[in-house]
Point group: D5
Chain length 146, copies 10
């Protein structure tokens, strides 16, 4: 079973069981962002997490095996088109050099890892309109000199 | 004076005065991310902020005027090449659909604004290696039906 | 049922029933542009609107459910090829900087929202040839400084 | 004098004289959108309009001549990056097929001209936030069969 | 029935009946270029023309209905690869600015319409090698000033 | 002297002398399209034509030499943006396969040469609006089998 | 039968019969390059050649008919990726201007035809490693002046 | 002195001395293709060849040094636009898979080197029009298995 | 059987038999990198290696035949998206000119062959985190002068 | 002083002093690859290394300061054109999935760091032709689950 079919089966079961991503995250004892990304085929699960997820969704071993495969990560368009995703791309375009300047000033020459990396999505209630709060947390990796 | 020359003048004065972006942010009473982005030509300042910045840097009225111009925001490559900026782009590619799924589940159909938007960069000290923490905070905008 | 199949089913029923987009808009009590865009998979409907539409077209619950899903908005070519759509793209290319100059002068630094946004299509009768009138109405969003 | 230099001279004089695009439009007796677009090098003026504009700005004959040249219309990126312009591009992407469906239904097979075309920018005051109203008015051109 | 299937059915019937594009054009009383383009899905026919064509080819009502649908015009590659089509693209690239200069000199600022447009293909016999003669005839559309 | 400078010098002299492209074509005894394309750097002239052109414009030997150089033909964007040139590109996109079908039917497998090629621009007066008539005449080249 | 299926059928029969491209070329009395290109769908055969080929391969009339259709020539990537094909592309990139300079010097302003064109592939035995010899032979086409 | 300036100096001297590429090739005792490519900055010369070339052209040591530098080979457009160069690109597109099939059949799995490579340009006189003959000769490199 | 199906069959059998790439490499007596690349369709095997591989995996003659076919090497995106592969692409981008400078200094003008080429992947154990060691070994090919 | 000027000054001094990259690496006590990359503007030096380099080359403080700036890493073309660099790109394209498969099998799900990374270039003498040996050594970074 490939990742596309795996995701389709998970989404179908999730709707039928009336579960949210937060429910699934609790079922495997991980964060919602990571759990969702694994279900969408963008991260791999350990065997025990994969079986916990399949148990919660009533899915069989094939799905659990597919969840453990190291994914080939890819996305559709170099410049995303969906407005929600494009706004994130725009933030990278507009603030990329600003972040580079500030990270170099605070940490030195290096990067923020996208591998040793966690992320959360929160809702900040606000009478003027609720706000989405994304927190990206990545290890600083200094460029090695040799 | 265009934005490119304005930025060059600011960077030169910043080095000569030995100031950090945090110093400049304090001088104008704003956050480091926003202040830096205005200096790099990606946001416009009000007249008073522009003059406060120029005073801190010992720069003249031309720079203050350029800081107030609405910028034409643009970036070099559709897919960024600098490793620090690319990692942010990769996060959008890998986690874009995950964020879309979670935001729709928590907020409904809509997007996170990149205009009514703030961001901070923090350093999280960690014995296994310090971590970069980026917090993006944007107003949720529901799609209007009409 | 995915959005592509949903659209195919709606278009088929619309032809068989001999209904226009204006009829469908009236059936759900919304504007023709918004109603059409939801049928083409570019906006999501609330449950009651979705059922009103399906009733008008004699379609079943599967279509109504698909209409409620938050769409992944995408389009074929970065530069559109169909002449009708290309002309709109050309207007953005030719007049983009003009609109930017005028909006900044009238409203300050910010953008016209494409989310808190409505649009109408009208026919202006004219002996020299009828004219298409498109009215775009979007909330002005000032750039937040922080 | 080429169009780039012409625009630079006009923008400089406009700032020095403290004039708005609306003032300039009144000076030549035309609309603000058309007047601005001609000043930005995207339309050509007749000789009398060109001289009226230069008189209002205190500019010489070279600028007036450049204003009369048929422009080579072009724009920077196939996909615009400035957020204000991108939102317009996004509207074309998201609503292009919707507009195509509605125009064909109302007018038959053909397009909205981008040449026999006018546009206005208006401000709609609104306590929940002012709104930008763009009105595009183009002649319907039916495809000729031969 | 979509346009792709419609074209396939027409091409198949055309071969089986041993008809040329010129025959089909006579059958509908229109030019060969326009008739061929409608059969290839690039123009729409009126109901009577569609039935005349289907009668000539022995095709049923489904094809006649598909012929009347307003097409979504698109082509494969932004830069065409087939040598016959590429040569036309090359002519546009090499002579585009020349045609622009001559049309502006003869007609003023405006364009040649590709909508109010006709085209013919003729064979000019020549002992040194026959020649292809393409005649493009489009209405001149002056840029509207407003 | 390179071709860019050559063109600039010719355009400047042409304006100062108040000559049209047709005048220049007559001066060298060639067609307006070919003469203009050579002046714009897209064709090379023989020595005598080059000197006749320079004489008509009062230009010196440097320009005449540059006119004789075999040009490196190139254009700005793979997809042209200027509306006049784009319409020609659109015709190639929309009618490319139609022309291919008709040329193959009339001539066999081969192409219309863009090298052994001539073109004219004419004005067809018409009370409903004048029309631009472009005539492309290229030798048919059959694919050689070997 | 389309060209893709035709090629698949030919390749399958060629393997089963244990024939080489040279055998097939002999069977039709043409060169290996041209014969192979027709089998791969990049050239059309006359009726007699098509039947000779099908006889050699034991294929039926459908394949013979498909071989006679004028192909729509296209290739996968603008920049080829297969190393064997990329090296040829690289030769064009590295030596393109060199060939242009030498051809213009030897022949005047014009091109080498890719239509009135033949090519051979030969093996030059060499103790230091055999060498591939490609010979391209195209008619020189001078640019027509008119 | 960089390669661009070096080439400009060589071309200028070549015109002033009235020399052809063949003369220059004789002067350095190498082939015209290789000599031209080195002059255009696409190959490097040994010290003695560089000085022989400069002597023939009356150029100084700076040019001779620049000729010895290993070039950074690059070309303008991924898809070339000049018609002469495009025809070569088209040959690679149309016949790439044919050449791949024939080379694999004659030599096995591997490529024709573009480094251990020579090329000649010849003129084949022909009453029906002279022909350009390009001969590419590259070492066959078998893929190493390890 | 094409290469895609061949790879799918090999991967399936490899999982079912619980074999690693190193096991398969041992089974055919070749290196893991080369063996894996042949299984993934990027190199061809000799007949005996192909049968040894199929024996180890319990696969039939069809797979063995497919393994011997010269592959058409291609990859998905010009800029790879999977993070593991992108990092390698980034190394080429960041260090490409550095490697060019050093190879030219050590070897002269030429390239490292990607055909007469071997590669190994090793694990270097390290208490601060294990390290991946890739060794690329390619024959230096000097540019031939002729 | 920006990085481009810095590199130009270093290259000029290196030639004048007759030094190799290995000499410069010894002068700063680092590897040739890293030292060269810093001189080409792709890595930053600490203050002491920068001064050691400038001393060896007889360059002043401006160059030493430029060497310490965190670079904005970028490269010319998404697909490199220089043959030496392209071969490395081709290796990534051809062997990217092979390396992914082997690294996942040996290390688990994760990547090879391009930041905590070293590289060497060696010459392996070989009577059949010397070989270039590149050794890439990067820390394995496992994907963090959270």
């Amino acid at each position: 079973m490939n990742k596309e079919l795996m995701t389709a089966r998970i989404l179908e079961a999730k709707v039928m069981k009336g579960l949210t991503w937060e429910h699934l995250a609790e079922a495997v004892g991980m964060s919602p962002v990571w759990t969702t990304s694994a279900c969408l085929g963008m991260n791999s699960m350990t065997e025990d997490k994969a079986f916990m997820l399949c148990e919660a969704l009533g899915l069989d071993k094939d799905v659990a095996q597919a969840l453990q495969v190291c994914p080939h990560k890819a996305w559709d368009n170099a410049v995303p088109q969906d407005p929600l995703v494009y706004r994130l791309y725009e933030v990278v375009g507009v603030y990329g050099d600003t972040l580079k300047a500030l990270i170099h000033e605070k940490f030195g020459d290096g990067i923020m890892s996208a591998i040793d990396f966690t992320m959360t999505v929160d809702k900040e209630e606000n009478p003027a309109g609720d706000r989405v709060v994304l927190t990206l947390n990545g290890k600083f990796l200094p460029y090695k000199a040799w």
